[in-house]
Protein backbone atom coordinates (compact mmCIF):
# COMPACT_ATOMS: atom_id res chain seq x y z
CA UNK A 1 0.00 0.00 0.00
CA UNK A 2 2.83 2.44 0.78
CA UNK A 3 3.88 2.92 -2.84
CA UNK A 4 0.26 3.63 -3.74
CA UNK A 5 0.20 6.58 -1.38
CA UNK A 6 2.73 8.26 -3.64
CA UNK A 7 0.88 7.37 -6.83
CA UNK A 8 -2.73 7.15 -5.75
CA UNK A 9 -4.13 7.01 -9.24
CA UNK A 10 -4.35 3.35 -10.07
CA UNK A 11 -3.25 3.12 -13.67
CA UNK A 12 -1.15 6.22 -13.02
CA UNK A 13 -0.64 7.40 -16.56
CA UNK A 14 -4.04 9.04 -17.12
CA UNK A 15 -3.47 12.42 -18.73
CA UNK A 16 -4.76 15.52 -17.00
CA UNK A 17 -5.85 17.06 -20.26
CA UNK A 18 -7.43 15.57 -23.32
CA UNK A 19 -5.84 15.97 -26.73
CA UNK A 20 -7.91 19.10 -27.40
CA UNK A 21 -6.59 20.70 -24.24
CA UNK A 22 -9.97 20.69 -22.54
CA UNK A 23 -10.14 19.62 -18.91
CA UNK A 24 -10.66 15.89 -18.73
CA UNK A 25 -13.96 14.86 -17.12
CA UNK A 26 -13.40 13.72 -13.56
CA UNK A 27 -15.29 11.07 -11.66
CA UNK A 28 -17.82 12.85 -9.44
CA UNK A 29 -17.99 11.99 -5.78
CA UNK A 30 -21.05 12.24 -3.53
CA UNK A 31 -20.68 11.91 0.23
CA UNK A 32 -23.88 10.87 1.99
CA UNK A 33 -24.16 11.24 5.74
CA UNK A 34 -27.02 11.46 8.23
CA UNK A 35 -25.52 14.84 9.13
CA UNK A 36 -25.21 17.77 6.74
CA UNK A 37 -22.22 19.03 8.72
CA UNK A 38 -20.42 15.69 8.45
CA UNK A 39 -21.07 15.34 4.71
CA UNK A 40 -19.94 18.88 3.91
CA UNK A 41 -16.94 18.76 6.25
CA UNK A 42 -15.71 15.45 4.88
CA UNK A 43 -16.02 16.92 1.39
CA UNK A 44 -13.86 19.89 2.41
CA UNK A 45 -11.40 17.62 4.21
CA UNK A 46 -11.01 15.35 1.21
CA UNK A 47 -10.54 18.24 -1.22
CA UNK A 48 -8.12 19.90 1.21
CA UNK A 49 -5.98 16.79 1.54
CA UNK A 50 -5.96 16.35 -2.23
CA UNK A 51 -4.52 19.86 -2.64
CA UNK A 52 -1.74 20.30 -5.16
CA UNK A 53 -3.70 18.45 -7.79
CA UNK A 54 -6.59 19.54 -9.94
CA UNK A 55 -9.55 19.00 -7.71
CA UNK A 56 -12.40 16.58 -8.37
CA UNK A 57 -16.12 17.39 -8.28
CA UNK A 58 -17.28 16.56 -4.76
CA UNK A 59 -20.62 17.24 -3.09
CA UNK A 60 -21.95 16.45 0.35
CA UNK A 61 -25.53 15.17 0.60
CA UNK A 62 -26.16 15.26 4.32
CA UNK A 63 -29.23 15.34 6.51
CA UNK A 64 -32.83 14.30 6.05
CA UNK A 65 -35.81 15.73 4.18
CA UNK A 66 -36.69 17.92 7.19
CA UNK A 67 -33.15 19.28 7.52
CA UNK A 68 -32.44 17.22 10.64
CA UNK A 69 -30.41 14.02 10.95
CA UNK A 70 -31.38 11.53 8.29
CA UNK A 71 -31.15 10.76 4.60
CA UNK A 72 -32.69 12.69 1.74
CA UNK A 73 -33.16 10.96 -1.59
CA UNK A 74 -33.63 14.34 -3.24
CA UNK A 75 -30.37 15.77 -1.88
CA UNK A 76 -28.50 12.65 -3.01
CA UNK A 77 -30.00 12.83 -6.46
CA UNK A 78 -29.29 16.56 -6.80
CA UNK A 79 -25.69 16.15 -5.62
CA UNK A 80 -25.09 13.24 -8.00
CA UNK A 81 -26.33 15.23 -10.98
CA UNK A 82 -24.26 18.23 -9.91
CA UNK A 83 -20.95 16.30 -9.84
CA UNK A 84 -21.68 14.28 -12.97
CA UNK A 85 -19.31 15.39 -15.72
CA UNK A 86 -19.75 12.25 -17.78
CA UNK A 87 -17.01 10.19 -16.14
CA UNK A 88 -19.26 8.47 -13.60
CA UNK A 89 -20.28 9.20 -10.04
CA UNK A 90 -19.00 7.38 -6.95
CA UNK A 91 -21.37 7.55 -3.98
CA UNK A 92 -19.97 6.99 -0.50
CA UNK A 93 -22.31 6.63 2.47
CA UNK A 94 -22.21 6.42 6.25
CA UNK A 95 -24.75 3.79 7.34
CA UNK A 96 -28.33 2.58 7.67
CA UNK A 97 -30.80 4.68 5.72
CA UNK A 98 -27.97 6.26 3.72
CA UNK A 99 -27.00 2.83 2.37
CA UNK A 100 -30.59 1.72 1.79
CA UNK A 101 -31.67 4.96 0.12
CA UNK A 102 -28.81 4.88 -2.39
CA UNK A 103 -29.50 1.20 -3.12
CA UNK A 104 -33.14 1.97 -3.80
CA UNK A 105 -32.32 4.97 -5.99
CA UNK A 106 -29.95 2.82 -8.02
CA UNK A 107 -32.55 0.05 -8.34
CA UNK A 108 -35.14 2.57 -9.46
CA UNK A 109 -32.84 3.82 -12.17
CA UNK A 110 -34.26 7.24 -12.92
CA UNK A 111 -33.18 9.47 -10.05
CA UNK A 112 -29.41 9.16 -10.46
CA UNK A 113 -27.00 9.67 -13.37
CA UNK A 114 -26.68 6.56 -15.48
CA UNK A 115 -23.16 5.69 -14.38
CA UNK A 116 -23.57 6.22 -10.65
CA UNK A 117 -22.20 3.58 -8.30
CA UNK A 118 -22.53 2.88 -4.58
CA UNK A 119 -19.01 2.39 -3.26
CA UNK A 120 -18.45 0.08 -0.30
CA UNK A 121 -15.99 2.18 1.68
CA UNK A 122 -15.50 3.95 5.00
CA UNK A 123 -16.82 7.50 4.59
CA UNK A 124 -13.88 9.64 5.74
CA UNK A 125 -10.90 7.59 4.60
CA UNK A 126 -12.73 6.42 1.50
CA UNK A 127 -13.65 9.99 0.53
CA UNK A 128 -10.04 11.11 0.73
CA UNK A 129 -8.85 8.17 -1.35
CA UNK A 130 -11.64 8.70 -3.88
CA UNK A 131 -10.96 12.43 -4.30
CA UNK A 132 -7.22 11.93 -4.68
CA UNK A 133 -7.80 9.20 -7.25
CA UNK A 134 -10.40 11.18 -9.19
CA UNK A 135 -8.32 14.36 -9.16
CA UNK A 136 -5.47 12.29 -10.57
CA UNK A 137 -7.56 11.19 -13.53
CA UNK A 138 -8.63 7.72 -12.41
CA UNK A 139 -11.76 6.22 -13.94
CA UNK A 140 -14.84 5.19 -11.96
CA UNK A 141 -13.66 1.63 -11.30
CA UNK A 142 -10.29 2.92 -10.10
CA UNK A 143 -11.87 5.55 -7.87
CA UNK A 144 -14.16 2.90 -6.37
CA UNK A 145 -11.22 0.54 -5.84
CA UNK A 146 -9.17 3.27 -4.16
CA UNK A 147 -12.03 4.07 -1.79
CA UNK A 148 -12.72 0.41 -1.02
CA UNK A 149 -9.06 -0.16 -0.26
CA UNK A 150 -9.38 2.36 2.55
CA UNK A 151 -10.96 -0.44 4.61
CA UNK A 152 -7.50 -1.97 4.80
CA UNK A 153 -5.60 1.10 6.01
CA UNK A 154 -4.63 -0.40 9.34
CA UNK A 155 -3.86 2.16 12.01
CA UNK A 156 -2.32 0.03 14.72
Amino acid sequence: MSEQQDTPLAGGQAPDRSAEGKPQPRVGIVLVSHSKEVADSVARLAVGLAAGRDSAPVEGAGGGPDGGLGTSAELISAAAHKVDTGAGVAILVDLGSAVLTVKVLLAEGDDLPENAQLVDAPLVEGAIAAVVASAGGADLAEVAAAAEEAYHFRKV
Binding site: P65, G70, S72, G96, K103, V104, L105
Partner: protein, 210 residues
Protein backbone atom coordinates in the same frame (compact mmCIF):
# COMPACT_ATOMS: atom_id res chain seq x y z
CA UNK B 1 -67.11 -11.41 4.61
CA UNK B 2 -64.28 -10.96 2.16
CA UNK B 3 -62.34 -13.86 0.76
CA UNK B 4 -59.39 -13.99 -1.60
CA UNK B 5 -61.52 -14.37 -4.74
CA UNK B 6 -63.09 -10.95 -4.15
CA UNK B 7 -61.61 -8.20 -6.25
CA UNK B 8 -59.97 -5.01 -5.10
CA UNK B 9 -59.62 -1.82 -7.10
CA UNK B 10 -57.59 1.37 -6.84
CA UNK B 11 -60.15 2.76 -4.41
CA UNK B 12 -59.53 -0.11 -2.01
CA UNK B 13 -55.78 0.48 -2.10
CA UNK B 14 -56.35 4.22 -1.69
CA UNK B 15 -58.43 3.50 1.45
CA UNK B 16 -55.76 1.07 2.68
CA UNK B 17 -53.06 3.73 2.47
CA UNK B 18 -55.13 6.58 3.90
CA UNK B 19 -56.20 4.30 6.76
CA UNK B 20 -52.55 3.41 7.31
CA UNK B 21 -51.67 7.11 7.32
CA UNK B 22 -54.33 7.77 9.95
CA UNK B 23 -53.11 4.95 12.18
CA UNK B 24 -49.48 6.06 11.82
CA UNK B 25 -50.62 9.53 12.85
CA UNK B 26 -52.50 8.08 15.83
CA UNK B 27 -49.66 5.75 16.90
CA UNK B 28 -46.72 8.05 16.12
CA UNK B 29 -45.91 8.69 19.76
CA UNK B 30 -45.95 4.98 20.55
CA UNK B 31 -43.68 4.19 17.56
CA UNK B 32 -41.22 6.89 18.58
CA UNK B 33 -41.29 5.67 22.18
CA UNK B 34 -40.50 2.11 21.07
CA UNK B 35 -37.74 3.51 18.87
CA UNK B 36 -36.27 5.56 21.71
CA UNK B 37 -35.70 2.33 23.65
CA UNK B 38 -33.61 0.58 20.98
CA UNK B 39 -33.26 3.02 18.08
CA UNK B 40 -32.89 6.72 17.44
CA UNK B 41 -36.37 7.86 18.47
CA UNK B 42 -37.58 9.00 15.08
CA UNK B 43 -39.67 6.13 13.71
CA UNK B 44 -43.04 7.72 14.52
CA UNK B 45 -42.22 11.18 13.21
CA UNK B 46 -40.46 9.77 10.13
CA UNK B 47 -43.44 7.61 9.15
CA UNK B 48 -45.84 10.45 9.93
CA UNK B 49 -43.99 12.68 7.46
CA UNK B 50 -43.82 9.86 4.91
CA UNK B 51 -47.49 8.89 5.02
CA UNK B 52 -48.56 12.54 5.03
CA UNK B 53 -46.64 12.86 1.74
CA UNK B 54 -48.41 9.73 0.47
CA UNK B 55 -51.83 11.20 1.26
CA UNK B 56 -50.89 14.50 -0.41
CA UNK B 57 -49.63 12.72 -3.54
CA UNK B 58 -52.74 10.53 -3.75
CA UNK B 59 -54.85 13.67 -3.44
CA UNK B 60 -53.19 15.14 -6.52
CA UNK B 61 -53.01 12.03 -8.66
CA UNK B 62 -55.45 9.16 -8.62
CA UNK B 63 -54.10 6.27 -10.66
CA UNK B 64 -56.77 3.83 -11.80
CA UNK B 65 -54.80 0.64 -11.09
CA UNK B 66 -54.07 -0.71 -7.59
CA UNK B 67 -50.47 -1.35 -8.64
CA UNK B 68 -49.95 2.24 -9.77
CA UNK B 69 -51.36 3.59 -6.50
CA UNK B 70 -48.84 1.48 -4.56
CA UNK B 71 -45.94 2.56 -6.78
CA UNK B 72 -46.81 6.23 -6.35
CA UNK B 73 -47.07 5.80 -2.57
CA UNK B 74 -43.79 3.89 -2.41
CA UNK B 75 -41.96 6.66 -4.21
CA UNK B 76 -43.23 9.18 -1.70
CA UNK B 77 -41.99 7.08 1.21
CA UNK B 78 -38.51 6.76 -0.30
CA UNK B 79 -38.23 10.51 -0.79
CA UNK B 80 -39.83 11.87 2.35
CA UNK B 81 -39.26 9.56 5.33
CA UNK B 82 -35.56 10.23 5.93
CA UNK B 83 -34.85 7.07 7.93
CA UNK B 84 -34.29 3.43 6.97
CA UNK B 85 -38.03 2.81 7.06
CA UNK B 86 -38.39 5.05 3.97
CA UNK B 87 -36.47 2.90 1.50
CA UNK B 88 -37.75 -0.27 3.20
CA UNK B 89 -41.47 0.56 3.15
CA UNK B 90 -41.00 2.32 -0.18
CA UNK B 91 -39.59 -0.90 -1.60
CA UNK B 92 -42.41 -2.93 -0.05
CA UNK B 93 -45.12 -0.82 -1.69
CA UNK B 94 -43.35 -0.30 -4.99
CA UNK B 95 -42.42 -3.93 -5.55
CA UNK B 96 -45.90 -5.02 -4.52
CA UNK B 97 -47.31 -2.49 -6.97
CA UNK B 98 -45.02 -3.60 -9.78
CA UNK B 99 -46.00 -7.23 -9.18
CA UNK B 100 -49.68 -6.28 -9.52
CA UNK B 101 -49.07 -4.71 -12.92
CA UNK B 102 -51.61 -2.53 -14.73
CA UNK B 103 -54.82 -4.44 -13.94
CA UNK B 104 -57.62 -2.20 -12.69
CA UNK B 105 -59.03 -4.98 -10.53
CA UNK B 106 -57.03 -7.66 -8.74
CA UNK B 107 -58.08 -10.54 -6.55
CA UNK B 108 -57.06 -10.94 -2.93
CA UNK B 109 -54.93 -13.91 -4.01
CA UNK B 110 -53.07 -11.71 -6.47
CA UNK B 111 -52.54 -9.09 -3.78
CA UNK B 112 -51.21 -11.73 -1.38
CA UNK B 113 -48.74 -12.99 -3.99
CA UNK B 114 -47.66 -9.46 -4.88
CA UNK B 115 -47.17 -8.61 -1.22
CA UNK B 116 -44.98 -11.67 -0.83
CA UNK B 117 -42.82 -10.35 -3.69
CA UNK B 118 -42.68 -7.00 -1.91
CA UNK B 119 -41.70 -8.51 1.42
CA UNK B 120 -39.01 -10.61 -0.25
CA UNK B 121 -37.62 -7.40 -1.79
CA UNK B 122 -37.53 -5.78 1.65
CA UNK B 123 -35.61 -8.77 3.02
CA UNK B 124 -33.14 -8.57 0.17
CA UNK B 125 -32.64 -4.81 0.49
CA UNK B 126 -32.08 -4.91 4.24
CA UNK B 127 -30.21 -8.21 4.24
CA UNK B 128 -32.38 -9.35 7.15
CA UNK B 129 -34.18 -12.60 7.86
CA UNK B 130 -37.03 -13.76 10.07
CA UNK B 131 -36.03 -13.59 13.73
CA UNK B 132 -33.66 -10.63 13.33
CA UNK B 133 -36.13 -8.38 15.21
CA UNK B 134 -37.14 -6.28 12.22
CA UNK B 135 -40.28 -5.39 10.31
CA UNK B 136 -39.98 -8.77 8.55
CA UNK B 137 -41.09 -10.47 11.77
CA UNK B 138 -44.54 -8.92 11.29
CA UNK B 139 -44.59 -8.76 7.47
CA UNK B 140 -43.87 -12.43 6.78
CA UNK B 141 -46.48 -13.85 9.23
CA UNK B 142 -48.98 -11.31 7.89
CA UNK B 143 -48.46 -12.15 4.26
CA UNK B 144 -48.40 -15.91 4.90
CA UNK B 145 -51.69 -15.74 6.81
CA UNK B 146 -53.22 -13.67 4.01
CA UNK B 147 -52.03 -16.09 1.33
CA UNK B 148 -53.38 -19.05 3.32
CA UNK B 149 -56.89 -17.75 2.68
CA UNK B 150 -59.75 -19.12 4.77
CA UNK B 151 -63.00 -17.35 5.61
CA UNK B 152 -61.35 -14.19 7.03
CA UNK B 153 -57.95 -13.85 5.37
CA UNK B 154 -57.52 -10.12 6.07
CA UNK B 155 -58.45 -10.48 9.72
CA UNK B 156 -56.13 -13.49 9.99
CA UNK B 157 -53.32 -11.47 8.41
CA UNK B 158 -53.86 -8.65 10.90
CA UNK B 159 -53.76 -11.07 13.83
CA UNK B 160 -50.66 -12.85 12.53
CA UNK B 161 -48.81 -9.57 11.96
CA UNK B 162 -49.76 -8.34 15.46
CA UNK B 163 -48.54 -11.59 16.99
CA UNK B 164 -45.39 -11.40 14.89
CA UNK B 165 -44.67 -7.90 16.16
CA UNK B 166 -45.26 -8.99 19.76
CA UNK B 167 -42.93 -11.95 19.24
CA UNK B 168 -40.04 -9.51 18.61
CA UNK B 169 -39.97 -8.59 22.33
CA UNK B 170 -37.68 -11.44 23.44
CA UNK B 171 -35.59 -11.31 20.27
CA UNK B 172 -32.08 -9.95 20.06
CA UNK B 173 -31.70 -7.39 17.26
CA UNK B 174 -29.35 -8.43 14.46
CA UNK B 175 -29.93 -5.57 12.03
CA UNK B 176 -29.85 -1.81 12.14
CA UNK B 177 -28.96 0.51 14.96
CA UNK B 178 -30.65 -1.71 17.58
CA UNK B 179 -28.12 -4.46 16.83
CA UNK B 180 -25.37 -2.34 18.43
CA UNK B 181 -27.18 -2.90 21.73
CA UNK B 182 -26.69 -6.66 21.57
CA UNK B 183 -28.40 -8.38 24.52
CA UNK B 184 -29.79 -5.06 25.72
CA UNK B 185 -32.16 -5.03 22.75
CA UNK B 186 -33.96 -8.01 24.33
CA UNK B 187 -37.20 -7.13 26.10
CA UNK B 188 -38.26 -4.35 23.74
CA UNK B 189 -40.84 -4.57 20.96
CA UNK B 190 -39.39 -3.69 17.58
CA UNK B 191 -40.76 -0.40 16.25
CA UNK B 192 -40.53 -1.50 12.60
CA UNK B 193 -42.47 -4.71 13.27
CA UNK B 194 -45.03 -2.62 15.15
CA UNK B 195 -45.58 -0.25 12.24
CA UNK B 196 -45.68 -3.20 9.82
CA UNK B 197 -48.52 -4.68 11.85
CA UNK B 198 -50.37 -1.35 11.48
CA UNK B 199 -50.27 -1.84 7.69
CA UNK B 200 -52.13 -5.16 7.97
CA UNK B 201 -54.64 -3.65 10.40
CA UNK B 202 -55.23 -0.86 7.89
CA UNK B 203 -55.64 -3.37 5.05
CA UNK B 204 -58.22 -5.36 6.99
CA UNK B 205 -60.08 -2.12 7.76
CA UNK B 206 -60.01 -0.93 4.15
CA UNK B 207 -61.28 -4.22 2.76
CA UNK B 208 -64.07 -4.59 5.32
CA UNK B 209 -65.29 -1.09 4.45
CA UNK B 210 -66.41 -2.18 1.00
Amino acid sequence: MTDLTDELDAGTVFRWLTTAAASVEREADLLTELDSAIGDADHGSNLQRGFAAVVTALGKESPSAPGAVLILAGRQLVSSVGGASGPLYGTLLRRTGKALGDAERVTGSQLAEALRTGVDAVAQLGGAALGDKTMLDALYPGVEALAAGGPHPYGAARTAADEGALATVPMRARKGRASYLGERSVGHKDPGATSSALLFTALAGAVADE
